[in-house]
């Protein structure tokens, strides 16, 4: 990635540094973040795949990098990763498309 890009790959490693300018809020965030990804009603593996899908939906290159690596470390197969990305893509496109119902309603209300 070029140095003059808004995104720098090495910034991912510096994420923890956000606590430097706001230790209390930073700590609260990272404590919360860690708790969210622990084994619970969902397995840590399932959560990793959800995170990968959401990373794509929110277009976060840092998150995509982090959760692709996380998936590899957990032994998640590339087919599982791609299915997760498609789930995100389907929801995102569905979210666009479902607004078509609003368009149809307005169209019909305003039309003879």
């Amino acid at each position: 990635m070029k140095k003059n890009s808004y995104y720098q790959a090495e910034d991912l490693r510096k994420f923890k540094n956000i606590t430097d300018w706001s230790p209390e809020l930073g700590k609260k965030f990272f404590d919360y973040y860690q708790s969210v990804f622990e084994e619970g009603a969902l397995s840590a593996r399932e959560k990793s795949l959800i995170a990968l899908a959401v990373s794509h939906v929110v277009h976060c290159p840092y998150c995509i990098d982090a959760y692709t690596q996380d998936g590899l470390q957990r032994g998640i197969a590339k087919e599982e990763m791609m299915e997760a990305v498609h789930v995100g893509a389907a929801i995102q496109s569905g979210a666009t498309l479902v607004h078509g119902v609003q368009m149809m309603g307005i169209h019909d209300k305003l039309s003879l």
């Binding site: 490693r13 840590a44 593996r45 690596q69 996380d70 590899l72 470390q73 957990r74 032994g75 197969a77």
Partner: protein
């Protein structure tokens, strides 16, 4: 078939070139601390040995596979092998010391001409745990080796087998075409003999190592996934899974450089440094013996040509008291054994 670094006359074929690379760049320009600096910054004393429990013998570099990640640079083109005299000396040391485990590695240790003799001798002399690190495919390779599973079972050999993934694609990419199917066949044969089952003394452990420039995940979770997948797909059972980190040396180092992953990988290892893992790294209870009888703190130091820090460096002049007093030699590759849950030939260390 691919060739070893040595056969290709690669610039990385020598230990000196690898050590030089690990000692420069990010470790000298202030980006990352060297391993010694890391210990010092955290107030961890230099590594010293505990009681010697395991003798790991590298029987030679010959192997029927040429794995992409191999830290030994083993392959069919490597002819180095341990002499009978050195094998005898290793047996004598087992008898003289409290060593309870002999860990046979290579290359493919089964390809050593004295392999069967040595296993029988070691068992007769009462070694508690005799580990053979098998690549599995050698057990199916040809007539010479096909009866080895039965021999293992008769001798009560503890089989530790490499299997980087429970699916064909990743396994074959790392270890060569056809390796996965042959490995599955070998595991089925071992299972049929009683290996890997709950109520048997025939231990069958698998070794997982990542198929690329990333660290292994949680060992217990991976074991669960392997057991489920191998059980459902092939009816295969095994005892434990050891999750190992790939150390940045030899052919894996070559891969890291060629794929432009070297610096990121070293960052990942250093970022994952776990002080709790330091106390249990394998060099604290294991000694590594090279095919030519030299002693090393571990198999990786052996491959990097980092001689043990004692006056006597050869098995012919083995001196238990002096060895117990030594300092363990470290370099940046040691980050591989202290990352995350730690890594050793017995898997995670925390």
């Amino acid at each position: 078939m691919k060739q070893s670094l040595v056969a290709r006359s690669s610039p990385l074929a020598t230990a000196k070139a690898q050590l030089a690379l690990l000692s420069e760049g990010v470790f000298t320009n202030g980006t990352l601390p060297s391993f010694s600096e890391q210990l010092q910054q955290r107030g961890i004393p230099p590594l010293t040995p505990k009681a010697l429990e395991i003798l790991q013998l590298n029987l030679g570099y010959m192997c029927n596979q040429v794995c992409a990640h191999c830290h030994v640079d083993a392959g069919p083109d490597r002819k180095e092998k341990m002499s009978r005299a050195t094998l005898e000396k290793c047996l004598a040391i087992v008898e003289q010391t409290d060593v309870h485990t002999l860990d046979l590695t290579g290359g493919a240790p089964e390809m050593h001409p004295d392999f069967r003799w040595f296993v029988q001798e070691a068992k007769q002399r009462g070694i508690q745990d005799l580990i053979v690190r098998s690549n599995l495919t050698i057990l199916r390779a040809n007539k010479t080796y096909r009866e080895l599973p039965e021999f293992f079972a008769e001798q009560g050999v503890h089989v530790v087998s490499s299997l980087p993934y429970y699916k064909r694609e990743k396994t074959d990419r790392q270890r060569g075409d056809g390796v996965f199917n042959q490995s599955i066949d070998a595991l089925k044969v071992l299972n049929a003999l009683g290996y890997g089952k709950l109520n048997t003394e025939l231990q069958l452990d698998l070794v997982y190592n990542p198929s690329g420039a990333f660290l292994p995940g949680d060992q217990a979770a991976l074991e669960q996934d392997f057991k489920k997948a191998l059980g459902e797909d092939f009816g295969i059972v095994f005892n434990r899974l050891f999750a190992l980190t790939n150390l940045p040396i030899s052919r894996f180092l070559e891969y890291l450089l060629a794929s432009e992953n070297y610096e990121d990988y070293m960052h990942a290892l250093v970022d994952a440094f776990n002080p709790a893992a330091v106390a249990n790294v394998m060099c604290t209870n294991t000694l590594s013996v090279s095919y030519d009888g030299y002693l090393y703190d571990c198999d990786f130091n052996q491959m990097l040509g980092l001689p043990i820090a004692t006056r006597s460096q050869h098995i012919d002049t083995f001196d238990a008291a002096e060895l117990a007093q030594r300092s363990i030699r470290v370099s940046q590759h040691c980050y591989g054994c202290t990352a995350g849950s730690g890594s050793s030939c017995q898997g995670a260390v925390t």
